[in-house]
């Protein structure tokens, strides 16, 4: 698999995740509904593959607005991972040198592996996580 194909797959999967999350917010009573409507439209454009460079940049901008709105990630770890993916995808799109693009995408891959490995390892060695006492 080459870098372009891996990036495209990442964009599609992230687009589906953002779209699903945005639809959940459309029932919200307040102005945040409009922010998530914009996010939903951008996520759909990303899935289809329209102007992905600018769509990713706009999604990052919108994510910063949401970060400010909620004074942090709305859904903890999942939102943080979404932000990390967005930032790395932006770097992949905007960095001028292929090698730098690979480093940015490699950093994302490393953090993704670490997120699963460390959380999994802690749950293996700590019995409170397995017994259901940890929440």
């Amino acid at each position: 698999m080459n870098l372009e194909y891996a990036v495209r797959l990442t964009e599609i999967l992230m687009g589906f995740a953002f779209a699903q999350q945005s639809i959940e917010h459309l029932k919200a009573q307040t102005s945040e509904r409009f922010l998530f409507l914009a996010r939903l439209l951008l996520a759909l454009l990303l899935i289809i593959g329209v102007q992905t460079t600018w769509v990713v940049a706009l999604l990052l901008l919108l994510a910063l607005v949401l970060l400010q709105r909620y004074q942090g990630p709305y859904n903890g770890g999942a939102d943080r991972m979404g932000l990390l993916i967005l930032c790395c995808l932006c770097l992949v799109h905007f960095l001028p040198v292929q090698h730098w693009k690979e480093i940015a995408f490699g950093y994302l891959a490393l953090q993704l592996v670490l997120s699963y490995f460390i959380s999994g390892w802690v749950k293996i060695v700590n019995k409170d996580w397995r017994s259901g006492r940890a929440r």
Partner: protein, 149 residues
């Protein structure tokens, strides 16, 4: 711009060490008052977990569960309130409780009530016993006028 970047930084350089600590999750409870200086009589848990969830519902919730995601945000706000209280976190929790009360999703009779307050509770297991500790009381907020009708 700087405050947003401060919020963004933990996402760019994640620390996965937080899994090491099993901190008790704060519970949010609310009470309805008949006047601003009324003494709380009964505290109700905000969005208690269902005692039983059918398998089909459980599977459905993997794809669609906005209320649970919102409840997770409420817990985040509660944790922030315990660490360093801000008006933002209190407002976010208050707004959601108010909405549930007024829309009758809490199953708590509110027609006679005029004010609302919430508190945060930590439940810790000490060997076999559960110990409760109240860590935060919110301001007392007036319910919408419709509530008095």
């Amino acid at each position: 711009m700087l405050p947003v970047l401060k919020l963004l930084l933990p996402a760019l350089v994640p620390s996965w060490r937080f899994f090491d600590i099993i901190a008790p999750s704060p519970r949010v409870q609310f009470t309805l008052l008949n006047a601003e200086n009324d003494v709380p009589q009964e505290w109700h848990e905000f969005r208690p977990h269902p005692a039983h969830l059918p398998l089909l519902h459980m599977l459905g919730r993997m794809l669609w569960n906005p209320q649970w995601n919102e409840s997770m945000f409420v817990v985040s706000c509660a944790e922030r309130l315990m660490e360093s209280p801000t008006r933002h976190s209190e407002d976010e929790i208050m707004r959601r409780i108010m909405s549930d009360v007024v829309n009758d999703t809490t199953q708590v009779h509110w027609a006679d009530a005029s004010h609302l307050q919430f508190r945060l509770l930590i439940i810790e297991r000490q060997e076999t016993e559960l110990q409760e500790e109240v860590t935060y009381y919110s301001r007392i907020e007036r319910l919408p006028v419709q509530a008095l009708v």
